[in-house]
């Protein structure tokens, strides 16, 4: 039986808008769910998705992707790769699965909202596949993570994390709710698919896939590359939205949506991906630095996408470029210090050879972060265990939920930002986060950061152990140094099997 070419019937088949007679257009597509920009159905008819696919093609391609990923995993199941992998790489797997499995699932309502409430037929079509994509990403990554549960209880967090009150869960839920649940379909198509997926997922899924292949973790590399092929398709939903909005005089509002979401996602991604690429990946298996990946995937590709659409770079672009040099270094050090609050074992990644690599990639690293690690290493060598853990919490931002970081050994290069609103002070890590809050304080006023919860008595007792219990992290799940501090002894870093010297006299 002969089939028509897709191009011969696709546009007609997906022309599913009609003129409602029994309800008004606003009842069929409520603005708060569909389109706060106020465009009519006719104006949305111009929406033209750049990547067209039929359901038959989709199912065929996806079934082959799944077969590939599962068969590679099955073939490598007996390779004992995980057991023989460096502890830093094991931590990347824990971090990735914990952070992403159910975050992928949280994108399903977003794609579904576009599939139901998008005013453009093309958006609805693409988003239907997008929802199926995100279900696949959730299922396949949970399946891969489950393989490791018997190896470490920390892999339980793949299922558990987003239902806890850990700082990472609160930050992720807040960002995803602001992007998905609290936005109309048109806005979320920009925030989720353009700013997050087109902007950042290449970092996690292609940058890390390259490192995974070099590390010999072909199962994981193949898995996340497979996920990214879907992201590359449905991430184009937002670009088509932006073209329609700009053509109809809504450039300023569209730009604002890009600026809000790009910054929120940058705050999450440097925290997740930066340490993984620059510190946790074993040195011998690193491809590029985090900065080099950012420059390739974001500064070059995403910036070009903005310009091609006729948009401006976000107003904070210069600060964003500057922050590539320091945010994740300070974030990594802070996460290592509060490692009991995470579900993976942070690798310090600061042995002599790793420091040389960091200095080459980030000139001046030794004189800044290296000096902080010197103090920590000295405490390790002298057995000052109490100095290796915090006695209080870092200040956390009321928008992104993350710490307020800057460059060390530059006096007071850091600073806080705050807004007084409704009888209280809201605290921010940066000018962009403060700007986001000030745009719509009513949207954000009831969200409580971990610090708010500590200060208002939600966390009891209000100390580190009380906080860990509030985070629902139990012994066995809480992070520890990935290499049992071997990096602090230069001779052990060269030969991990060597006998550890006795602690130096304090």
């Amino acid at each position: 039986m002969a089939f028509l070419n897709r191009a011969d019937w696709y546009d007609l088949a997906r022309a599913t808008n009609w003129s409602p007679r029994y309800v008004s257009e606003d009842q069929l597509f409520p603005p708060e769910m569909s389109d706060r920009f106020g465009l009519s159905l006719e104006q949305w008819e111009a929406y033209d998705e750049p990547f067209k696919i039929s359901y038959r093609e989709y199912v065929d391609v996806q079934s082959r992707k799944d077969a590939d990923a599962y068969s590679v995993r099955a073939a490598l199941a007996r390779s004992n790769f995980y057991d023989n992998a460096d502890a830093g790489w094991q931590s990347i797997l824990k971090l990735h699965f914990g952070a992403l499995c159910l975050t992928e699932y949280s994108a399903v309502p977003g794609e579904s909202k576009m599939a139901r409430f998008g005013k453009a037929p093309g958006m609805r079509n693409m988003a239907t596949f997008g929802a199926l994509d995100e279900m696949r990403h959730t299922q396949i990554q949970l399946y891969f993570a489950h393989e490791f549960v018997s190896k470490s209880r920390q892999f339980d967090l793949a299922q558990k994390l987003l239902s806890t009150n850990s700082w990472a869960a609160i930050a992720t839920r807040s960002a995803m709710d602001d992007t998905i649940l609290g936005r109309d379909a048109a806005t979320l198509s920009i925030m989720l698919t353009f700013a997050l997926e087109q902007g950042f997922t290449n970092l996690q899924f292609l940058g890390l896939a390259a490192d995974a292949a070099r590390a010999g973790d072909f199962s994981f590399s193949n898995l996340i590359s497979s996920v990214q092929t879907d992201e590359a398709r449905h991430s184009q939903i937002g670009g088509a939205t932006l073209k329609v909005l700009i053509a109809n005089g809504k450039k300023e509002e569209a730009q604002r949506a890009v600026d809000i979401s790009f910054w929120r996602q940058w705050r999450l991604f440097f925290t997740l991906t930066g340490p993984a690429i620059d510190y946790l990946t074993p040195l011998a298996h690193r491809d590029k630095s985090f900065k080099e990946f950012i420059q390739e995937f974001i500064v070059a590709q995403f910036e070009r996408a903005l310009v091609d659409l006729g948009l401006e770079r976000p107003w904070y672009w210069d600060f964003f470029l500057k922050s590539i040099e320091f945010y994740h270094h300070s974030g990594h050090l802070e996460i290592w210090f509060v490692r009991q609050t995470v579900w993976w074992n942070p690798a310090a990644g600061v042995s002599a050879a790793e420091r040389a690599w960091l200095e080459a990639k980030y000139p001046g690293w030794n004189a800044k972060w290296g000096r902080l690690w010197d103090v920590i290493a000295d405490n390790v060598r002298h057995g000052r265990t109490d100095k290796l853990y915090p006695k209080t919490l870092p200040m956390l931002c009321n928008i992104c939920g993350l710490s307020v970081g800057s460059i060390p050994h530059e006096g007071h290069s850091n600073r806080g930002y705050w807004t007084e609103f409704g009888m209280r002070r809201y605290y921010f890590c940066s000018e962009p986060c403060q700007w986001i809050f000030n745009l719509e304080p009513l949207r954000y006023q009831d969200h409580k950061s971990v610090i708010d919860r500590l200060l208002c008595g939600d966390i009891q007792p209000p100390d580190i152990e009380g906080t860990l219990r509030y985070f629902d992290l139990m012994p066995g799940e809480r992070g520890e140094d990935a290499h049992d501090y071997a990096w602090a002894w230069p001779e052990l870093a060269l030969d991990p099997a060597a006998e550890r010297p006795s602690q130096e006299a304090a």
């Binding site: 100095k387 006695k391 209080t392 870092p394 200040m395 060390p408 007071h412 806080g416």
Partner: protein, 84 residues
């Protein structure tokens, strides 16, 4: 006397940190309370140097004997600790 949470920006540090101080604390005691979370943990101990306190964007250090109560601080005020 009561506890007051302030945000501490310690000289040469890179992360702002929540520190509880007592409203009866003098500025010297505030500096000591803040140093507990930085000096000797990520930054070197400098016991022979005098620490001073100022508010973020404040030009001058606050008098060493001034108390938190007298300074009129409110929750989540941001202070900078620096060595003289």
């Amino acid at each position: 006397m009561s506890a007051l949470p302030v945000v501490c920006n310690f000289e040469d540090g890179c992360i702002l940190t929540l520190v509880n101080v007592d409203t009866a604390f003098t500025m010297d005691e505030v500096a000591d309370a803040a140093a507990e979370h930085f000096a000797g943990r990520m930054l070197p101990l400098q016991p022979k140097r005098t620490m001073r306190v100022r508010l973020q964007d404040g030009e001058n250090p606050l008098p060493r004997a001034l108390t938190v109560h007298e300074a009129g601080w409110v929750p989540l005020d941001t202070i900078e600790i620096f060595y003289e």
